[in-house]
Symmetry: D2
Subunit: 253 residues, 4 copies
Amino acid sequence: APDVTMLEVCIDSALSAINAEEGGAGRLELCANLFEGGTTPTTGTLRVIKKHVKTPVFVMIRPRGGDFLYDDLEMETMLEDARQLKDAGADGFVFGFLTKDGRVDRARCSAVFDVVKPKPTTFHRAFDVVCDPSGALEDIIELGFSRLLTSGLASSALEGAPAIHRLVQQAGDRIVIMPGGGITEKNLERILSLTGAKEFHCSARKSVASGMTHLSSDVYMGAALRPPEYGHKVCDSKRVLAFATFAKAATFK
Amino acid sequence: APDVTMLEVCIDSALSAINAEEGGAGRLELCANLFEGGTTPTTGTLRVIKKHVKTPVFVMIRPRGGDFLYDDLEMETMLEDARQLKDAGADGFVFGFLTKDGRVDRARCSAVFDVVKPKPTTFHRAFDVVCDPSGALEDIIELGFSRLLTSGLASSALEGAPAIHRLVQQAGDRIVIMPGGGITEKNLERILSLTGAKEFHCSARKSVASGMTHLSSDVYMGAALRPPEYGHKVCDSKRVLAFATFAKAATFK
Amino acid sequence: APDVTMLEVCIDSALSAINAEEGGAGRLELCANLFEGGTTPTTGTLRVIKKHVKTPVFVMIRPRGGDFLYDDLEMETMLEDARQLKDAGADGFVFGFLTKDGRVDRARCSAVFDVVKPKPTTFHRAFDVVCDPSGALEDIIELGFSRLLTSGLASSALEGAPAIHRLVQQAGDRIVIMPGGGITEKNLERILSLTGAKEFHCSARKSVASGMTHLSSDVYMGAALRPPEYGHKVCDSKRVLAFATFAKAATFK
Amino acid sequence: APDVTMLEVCIDSALSAINAEEGGAGRLELCANLFEGGTTPTTGTLRVIKKHVKTPVFVMIRPRGGDFLYDDLEMETMLEDARQLKDAGADGFVFGFLTKDGRVDRARCSAVFDVVKPKPTTFHRAFDVVCDPSGALEDIIELGFSRLLTSGLASSALEGAPAIHRLVQQAGDRIVIMPGGGITEKNLERILSLTGAKEFHCSARKSVASGMTHLSSDVYMGAALRPPEYGHKVCDSKRVLAFATFAKAATFK
């Protein structure tokens, strides 16, 4: 019976790294700015973590949130950060680049490989917005990535489990397919059963209240998200028709 | 082979009602303020919808977002709204009340029944935060609700599908269990197969751009959501241990 | 010395209405869905409020968040809601319509006047996104509105105070200019001094914790706001130049 | 006549640094994660920026969003990042630490001074949530900070302008008081006039659409903000009374 061989935990601080190791993580993925899906961490964070844990630490190379189409300055920044983080002890690297039409940008991936080799590499969830997943997986394998982190082109690994299963089958022994995205203690068993994956990626975080006794309620440091002022949502009869058509045809085995 | 007998579409405007009917909806659930999960709509919206569609319209009775524990003024408001909406032609009512310890508030449910009978009633997703789902379902059946809208005590119907399946089995022919919460064209088949439900609830919306040619970028009408200023998240070693323990034990059939 | 003659408080529930009256509000503006800037409230809310307070209650007529360009079904809904709310005891009405090029839609405003007369009327913050504020104010006066609620075409009344001052001067005795938008106990004096306004609009809310003792952390009822996946922000050299140019020229009196 | 001597522009990428210099910025403040108010940037970003611009670059030292009370691992991380960024060419440092009761944490500030000296230092908007602003300013001066970035203990520099003015007067020539927080081309003149400040801090950003032609609408990489499920807002009669009391007393000079 196949079993799970690796639990990767996503962390953004030294305390989280220590906690993840204590809980039994097999690998750490170090990011900054998890709110926007993870960006390149600082070398200071990595250096302090490497002093406190023995678990391998893979680092995210991503200069900002948003899409995976970068300008030359962003590429220059990522290559420099990869060098700095390699010097600081990174055990592996997590990155991914797309062309504007949604394909794997092989040239840019190769440029990072030149810096980070021979460290192992993970192609990240940029994969989840490619136009041709099957072809993209072949590109990622040929480029030499060690693994692919994916939610199966869906909003969560549970939603994308059928697609992840197909990727696991296509991949065979050529690359590790690692599900990630909304994995919790409650849905892990289902995701593993549905996908056949042997590694998985989770964040396992809890909220920690501030230790401040002096609280100020008027001041905000950052930005905010607002509903759109121009645009709204309406029911789409085509979507309803798709639901209705399916519902009429539904028979359960 | 059992098949799906009813597609309920959640709408918040007359245009959405018309679109939902055109697409083949079997029932409409009319709400205001879908961003906060749906609140009581206006009688004007209902009256206009009843002029334009023949599909039955069930109306939400919920005075605000947030929890399902209400003060007396909120109850008085809901009862008055139920009367007004019944006069305006509502074909059914959707509501639900909890006690502070997470049980169905039977007295308050009965008070609404007194107003809306003999119209059919749906107990809404307040169910998804009860403390004892099995007992709550029995309460809801005894109270005389026609159906229960639920995501299976999870963040979406797909996540909660195993729990919904158990509710379907417990319910038998006594009440309709209607899955809802994040149902899309992509996950519908899985949700129906996993749960055995014969009705389902979805919103099927698309974004519509504003028709304004004069756009102003400086002004916001409403409020905004911000990251917390006091508190942050860290990796929890207990949650990692739960993942790791499970992963070690995992074997797939 | 001129003084403030009217404090209007924006509320969305009977409890808030009672609290506002107790605190000394001179007028209430009743809305639903304050998160999106206020939409049409239910007749049930209005009827319960009218039983509990003596303060005049003006009601918002706005069918959704977003822009102020409506389709015919939305207009039909607003007219019907205005009728229903007038029957339910509304003391005044708050509304506003724009054409797609950012002018006051006089025909649509007149259609609402036909329903709500002789009740007093407020043109709401749709004004803050018009293309020609001075011309729009003349339109609003000619249409017969009793007052204009405005943040001075800015994100808050403090930001827009200079523009509000100009509106107060243009208006003279012809219409009441009522500042609103982010007014707090801390900035009220400055806003009144800067604008010369004699009425003002505020919400004066506090957060109330849930009374639930059974809390569920996994389930969300509504939607969420997310950072954009396609698009990001960069520093704009033209904006910096505007700042730099101004800074070089700055001399303070 | 005093005039503005310095325009600091907050940036988070090499492109923004180049744009800011082109527009005439006198100093750059480099951060990551502006959504949460700015955190420590990577050395890669700094090194690339130093290759492309001549304008001095000050770097933020802040390991996460939220409060300014840090654990020992976070302090260790900040000290290490300060060393790395100093090596990478930082021209100045921006940081700030508080004790849990809202005072300046002098010991922790000194620890960073030991690493970054003799580079100039800015105490950041942690100041805006201290309990005793006047005392905190004296602490900051004594510690040897070159300047204080502040919104005047308010949500924006315009809201806090009266407090900033008092700080400018208290500071005299001992430290530069630099307003920041929501400064735009529209409110800059008022803020400078009201505060008497000679430096100011802004971000001057514009939104840039993605260059992707293949768009995926189902997948999100990061987290989301949601309205609270437990808790809501009601009108506070005490706040209304405060408004009403003030309004009654208002006379304008």
